[in-house]
Amino acid sequence: MRRRGIDLRLWVPLGVLVLTIVACFVGPMLLGPEAGQQALGERLAPPAWLPGAIDGRPLGTDAFGRDMLTRTLEGGQVSLQVGFGAATGAVLVGMVLGLVAGYWGGWCDRVIMAGADIWLAFPFLVIALAAVAVVGSDIPVLIVLLTLGGWVLPTRVTRTIALRVRSEDYVVAAAGAGASDLYLVRRHVLPQVLPANLVVWSFTVGALVVIEGALSFLGLGVKPPTASWGNIIADGTPYLQTAWWIVAWPALMIVVTVICANALGNALRGRWNAGADVIDKEVVP
């Protein structure tokens, strides 16, 4: 779907994601601090196009009379910080572990891969629930926790690529010419691992935004009145009948974010064929 030299499949999701991020972090500032504050007298006002709407509350208000536009954008700050932060963390951790496992191999490889298998075998949400109940749910905690939820995929992808590149003839040739491990990793392995991990990163963002939502939905996300998409949805659930907009906006944002993250991942995968087959095997598309 290349048109006029622009790859729409890449730039559209990227554009939407960037727009979402900018809106979430800049939007609330433009809207002013007052909009996000509670005004119990204005509670459950519908969006602007429905009867009973309140001026200056284009997407309606929630059960505390807070502006849904502001809430949704603020909620995005948390969800996106956690999603992007944890995905980045997961990919970094995964690349290091994957390189160690794939390039150096031996018992490191066995230990890391056994760990990965086992980690995948247990339902992460269960572990996360217990962990959050103990250590609380500040944003940094959530990022660390979800990093643990996402490290396996980049580790596996990195390992597979590293393993393959390592035995590639041109790497053998470079080794034959006396190249050090560090040189080989830097010059040959990393350049192949990075693009693949960018793809993984993209998919992971989507997955982790959802997990953050699920944790918040179960009441284990950030502390109210701080918003996150998951806890807005949880709080809005009882109002589904009369004030659907409370659930609708953050749910829409999650769906859009996940779709864009996945689409971005797909586009990137199409762009770099290095490791594409590995990603196809490993990544939840």
């Binding site: 339902p123 949400l125 269960v126 629930l129 989507g206 589904l240 999650i254 598309p285």
Partner: protein, 335 residues
């Protein structure tokens, strides 16, 4: 025509030909591999239980719940002592380990019933949910995957979009929508509960949607991958119809990879089941576990995690065997 006598017809591939004793050897190897896998998983289970033991204990206290909000501090202390919670943590842990080895998880702090019994009692409902989810995701996912790969332009676009959406809508959002639609608006299905077929529908749908999309995508990807393989061309060259090539040759070859992924995904499904069970008040082990975590009902938490862990181990072992049955190559590839 020819009388080509072949001395030893051995394969060039190492290990491909089995010497006479290979039957036993292979079985032995397999048993050893399964054994190693089981031991590894069980050890991890122990690790996980340990982790949970400390996590849960560091964060709350069933004594408070037992004593109630209007108890006096003295009463609270008395309850603690009664539960053995005043002993050093390590002593508690040692006792716990001893009990676990004997499969004695104690009794629920609140109901007084056997913790393991409680966990096991909640398992069948979850199993039913998981099985229906698997069935639905395979039954719907495979045709969708075929359409995704083979359908016309419009079909592909429609199915592709649905699958994209299905993958992007979180389970909890989907669950809420389902309740609203089917229970509140249409009144077709009970909004909650467990035990009847009707109560199974929405949790299954909520849980299966993602799995359907996942299966469909995998089937499509695998079909695309096997598409150019010569054995499909061979089948067509023998005179097989397009349908037959698809259903008899392409899909069966795509299936093992899909099935393998589904087995791995049992843990994702269990995570999803936790959310779904809480949302639909479905009495499975996921809900039991969440309740127990919130209430700090240690014995039940531990028993639930243990049961889930063993379940995962069993699924992996059985799934592994099943895959072997599905694909004669795997035995060699992994050997």
């Amino acid at each position: 025509m020819t009388e080509m006598t072949e001395g030893v017809v051995a394969s060039v591939d190492p290990g491909a030909t089995a010497p006479p004793s290979a039957g036993r050897g292979r079985r032995g190897r397999r048993a050893r591999r399964l054994g190693a896998m089981t031991v590894r998983l069980l050890l991890t289970l122990l690790g996980l239980l340990t982790l949970l033991f400390f996590l849960v204990r560091l964060s709350g206290d069933p004594a408070g719940v037992l004593a109630g909000p209007s108890a006096t501090p003295q009463q609270l202390e008395a309850v603690r002592a009664g539960l053995g919670l005043d002993e050093p943590l390590l002593a508690q842990y040692a006792a716990f380990l001893g009990d676990v080895v004997r499969l004695d998880f104690g009794t629920s702090v609140f109901s007084g019933e056997s913790a393991l019994g409680t966990a096991l009692g909640a398992l069948p409902a979850t199993l039913v949910l998981l099985v229906t989810t698997m069935l639905v995701s395979v039954a719907v996912g495979i045709p969708c995957g075929v359409l995704l790969d083979r359908g016309g332009r419009v079909t592909r676009a429609v199915v592709g979009t649905s699958m994209t959406l299905a993958q992007a809508v979180p389970t909890f959002v989907l669950g809420i929508l389902l309740i609203y639609l089917f229970a509140v608006r249409l009144g077709w299905l009970p909004a909650f509960g467990s035990g009847t077929a009707a109560t199974l529908v929405m949790p299954t749908l909520a849980l299966a949607t993602f799995a359907i999309a996942r299966t469909a995508r995998m089937v499509a990807a695998e079909l695309e991958q096997v598409e150019d393989q010569d054995f499909l061309r061979t089948a067509a060259a023998k005179g097989a119809s397009t349908r037959r090539v698809l259903w008899r040759h392409a899909l069966p070859n795509a299936f093992p990879a899909v099935a393998a992924a589904l087995v791995v995904e049992i843990s994702y499904l269990i995570s999803g089941a936790v959310v779904v069970e809480v949302l639909f008040a479905y009495d499975g082990i996921g809900k039991e576990l969440v309740d127990a975590i919130f209430a700090r009902d240690y014995p039940v938490v531990q028993a639930c995690v243990f049961v889930i862990g063993v379940f995962v181990v069993v699924v992996n072992v059985v799934g592994d065997g099943l895959l072997r049955a599905l694909d004669p190559r795997i035995a060699r590839a992994r050997a």
